[in-house]
């Protein structure tokens, strides 16, 4: 009997082990992403994962971001701006067709822009389009967009993933089988696992080197680690667990790519709720925080300390970390001065990303160290949006603000951290009316200093883009000026 059992196990084991492997062809790339996009329509939702699949690969706009963050022509080969800064004339490329074969014309541009700003639009970045007054078709390849007021950012706005050009007759399938103008066509989507794109042979622009691109969604960091190690994934541009990067770095098969993102990771503070409605308390908060410890402990050393809400790689950035140097003694003194009552628990509500969960535990420990009574509460995103972002029912939270150049959120008194400064709002108004680059830079620096000295939020670090890729892959974006995995320049070297 026993012998039979062992035979039996051996048979099962052999059956399991002999199930062989096969690997895919070469001219393809498998990109790992932590989150699966809910759908593939970048004009109807905010999920970053949508743009990380479709931006520049499947969909294109009038203009586009390049890897260094600069804006380049895309569907519009050129444009002119009228002297008063209100009229933008776009000249479209003439050989562009959608993946269904229909040509892309001025009609589609008008349709896309009108749709994005219409009353029942569900565009997550509708603010990009609010300045548009009219969109006029001149001929098949010329469009004039008239603005209500001059806007120095308009050309940049048109490069966002939310401003891509779609064709009217493909609207109904945008979510599940999108049709765009990009160098890749949609092939298939195995929900919960991967999206596959194939080369668009009739692409209007420069031919790409890849035949196929597979985006595979792996939410679990361990599984992601194992998948990269096993070679199932060729590149994981935003690897979810920084603690594993040193292992990749020591393996010659892989290259670790560390770049910058637009994500200012901040300890957002509710400026209207006690105890942090007091400037002294917020100052105490700032001095209680040891940024390097957070970067080491939560991000395993990846990240740049910041002292204000501005990206360090931006030429207008000023280093203000000295305003909030780690000084627990000063912090304790300030807390005493402010008369904080230890019985008042301070709520620290944390969304799911590991920078928030891990960073939150470290922040809580640091705040306890200066005598603050901190209570952590871990939330899902939907709960965070409801309680913190909409309900403003929190004292502290940690979140990374990934939109580029978004210091203007401090001018919204109803924004979730509820910073209501007339001086700052005035400054932002001035900024939007200024076109002289030198003057703009001056205003931006003033704005950075103002929020830093008002200790609006605790400024922790600029999120690093930490990725890993097969060492033979060239042409992936190092930095992340916008959320995208632009594969148009990717080539395999031998």
């Amino acid at each position: 009997m026993l012998k039979k059992i062992t035979e039996y196990f051996a048979a099962v084991l052999i059956l399991i082990l002999t199930i062989g492997t096969s690997s895919a062809a070469d001219k393809s790339i498998t990109i790992g992403m932590q989150l699966e996009p809910p759908n593939l329509n970048p004009t109807g939702g905010a999920a970053a994962a949508i743009d990380e699949v479709v931006y520049a690969n499947l969909f294109e706009g009038l203009t586009r971001f390049k890897s260094d963050g600069s804006v380049a022509p895309a569907l519009a080969k050129s444009w002119t701006i009228s002297a008063n800064g209100l009229e933008y004339t776009f000249n479209l490329n003439d050989t562009v067709t959608f993946h269904d074969g229909t040509p892309m014309t001025a009609k589609d541009v008008k349709f896309s822009l009108d749709r994005a700003r219409s009353e029942d639009s569900t565009n997550a970045q509708k603010a990009l389009f609010v300045d548009i007054d009219t969109v006029k078709i001149i001929d098949a390849l010329t469009v004039i967009v008239t603005l209500k007021a001059p806007n120095g950012n308009f050309i940049t706005n048109m490069a966002w993933g939310d401003a891509i050009i779609v064709s009217e007759n493909s609207i109904s399938s945008l979510e599940t089988a999108p049709i765009g103008t990009g160098p890749f066509k949609f092939s298939k989507w195995v929900k919960g696992d991967r999206v596959e794109l194939i080369k668009n042979e009739t692409y209007w622009g420069d031919q790409i080197s890849l035949d196929r691109a597979i985006f595979k969604f792996i939410s679990d960091p361990t599984a992601a680690f194992a998948a990269v190690m096993a070679g199932d994934i060729d590149a994981f541009p935003v690897f979810p667990a920084p603690e594993n990067l040193s292992q990749f770095a020591s393996d010659p098969r892989f290259s670790v790519i560390v770049g910058s993102t637009e994500g200012e990771t901040i300890l957002s503070t509710n400026n209207k709720q006690p105890p942090f409605d007091s400037l002294t308390m917020r100052k105490a908060l700032a001095h209680a925080i040891n940024r390097q410890e957070i970067i080491d402990g939560a991000m395993f050393g990846f990240g740049t300390p910041i002292g204000t809400h501005f990206a360090p790689h931006n030429p207008d950035y000023i280093n203000l970390t000295s305003n909030s140097e780690y000084n627990p003694e000063l912090s304790k003194q300030l807390i005493k001065e402010a008369g904080y009552d230890k019985n008042n628990a301070i709520t620290l509500k944390l969304p799911p990303p590991s920078y928030a969960r891990r960073g939150g535990e470290i922040v809580a420990s640091q705040l306890r160290n200066v005598g603050l009574n901190v209570k952590i509460s871990n939330l899902e995103w939907a709960q965070w949006l409801e309680q913190v972002f909409k309900g403003k029912d929190y004292n502290l939270t940690i979140v990374s603000h990934t939109e580029p150049a978004d210091i203007n959120i401090y001018a919204r008194p109803n924004y979730y951290f509820q910073y209501d400064s007339k001086r700052f709002q005035e400054l932002m108004r001035e900024l939007s009316e200024t076109t002289d680059p030198k003057k703009r830079s001056e205003i931006l620096k003033k704005a950075q200093t103002m929020i830093s000295e008002d200790y609006v939020n605790g400024y922790l670090f600029q999120l690093a883009k930490t990725g890993v890729a097969n060492a033979k892959i060239n042409g992936l974006w190092k930095n992340s000026p916008t959320q995208a995995n632009d594969l148009t320049g990717v080539i395999w070297s031998d």
Partner: protein, 313 residues
């Protein structure tokens, strides 16, 4: 008999209506708006409202309940908020992963548990019985997600025999498909096999005390023959009941394992749908699971009625 059937059908109906109400109320009570979740932190209030209208969230609560109920009766489970495809398509897509996974792990559990349980019963009180029972105690005590982590560490990271997870899809070949289900099936099978082997052992031992077994023994049959020929068949009934329970448990209960191995199964669909507040998906999938369990219970009750005439009062 007929009146019993009618009464049973009535309770079936009431149970289904009640559970649909419980599910709907539970899910209505979940805070968080699907539209604001989808549109993120830069969306304007007016955009969110437009999307809410598009998703049908602005309708009255009672209307939504009845629309959902009537829709389900006609096989229309609604359209997922986030994926924007019919919910029944989503469920089918996930079932082709969850169903094979469940079947595979149950088969594995059966292949381990039956010999183990039968041997333990045959050598009751001996060392081998003790070892098998001790092993099954350990198997029950191991959290399956921890076991899964260890399997990944050994077989995926160190030995690289298996990928650490993911599902290639059946169109990439049955071999690749099965391969990606192997480690998850093993981690699911371990506790199930342990429970099952204990049930098999005690259920065989129970039947061994029955009269007809004594007769068989008196006829001079060996213990092994008695177990495999006579006791086994009768011991099967409680075992089948447990198997039925395990089947429906595994179908949805693989949530954690599906997350560890990032398998696109039914469990992960619910888990994701809850975090994304894709409430219509949660409602429909939970209702479907509850329905299947209630239906299985109902059928089992009827089967008992057929098998055991004493119950037909």
């Amino acid at each position: 008999m007929l009146s019993y059937l009618w009464a049973r059908l009535f309770t079936l109906f009431v149970s289904l209506v009640l559970s649909s109400l419980i599910i709907f109320i539970l899910i209505e009570a979940v805070p968080g708006d699907p539209a604001s979740f989808m549109l993120g932190i830069n969306a304007t209030d007016e955009t969110i409202e437009a999307l809410r209208k598009e998703l049908g969230l602005e309708e009255k609560i009672l209307n939504r309940y009845f629309n959902w109920l009537i829709g389900m009766l006609s096989g229309d489970f609604g359209v997922s908020y986030t994926y924007r495809v019919p919910v029944q398509d989503l469920i089918l897509e996930r079932l082709i992963v969850s169903l094979p996974l469940t079947i595979l792990s149950l088969t594995l559990a059966i292949f381990i548990a039956f010999p183990a349980g039968m041997i333990a019963a045959q050598f009751q009180g001996k060392k081998i019985d003790f070892s098998i029972m001790a092993a099954s105690q350990v198997g029950i005590a191991i959290p399956n997600f921890w076991f899964a982590m260890i399997l990944v560490l050994i077989f995926a990271i160190h030995l690289r025999w298996f990928s650490a997870g993911g599902f290639y899809g059946w169109d990439s070949g049955i071999v690749l498909g099965l391969k990606s289900l192997t480690l998850p099936a093993i981690s699911l099978a371990l506790p199930q096999a342990s429970i099952l082997s204990r049930v098999i052992r005690s259920s065989i031992l129970n039947t061994l005390t029955e009269d007809y077994i004594r007769t068989a023994r008196a006829k001079g049959l060996s213990q092994r023959k008695i177990i495999s020929k006579h006791a086994f068949k009768n011991a099967l009934i409680p075992v089948l009941t447990i198997l039925g329970l395990q089947f429906s448990f595994l179908l949805a209960g693989a949530i954690i394992i599906e997350n560890v191995f990032f398998l696109p199964g039914l469990g992960r669909l619910i888990f994701q749908a809850i975090t994304q507040r894709d409430l219509i998906v949660v409602e429909s999938v939970v209702m479907l699971l509850v329905f299947s369990v209630i239906l299985v219970n109902f059928i089992v009750d009827l089967l008992y009625l057929i098998v055991d005439p004493r119950l037909r009062k």
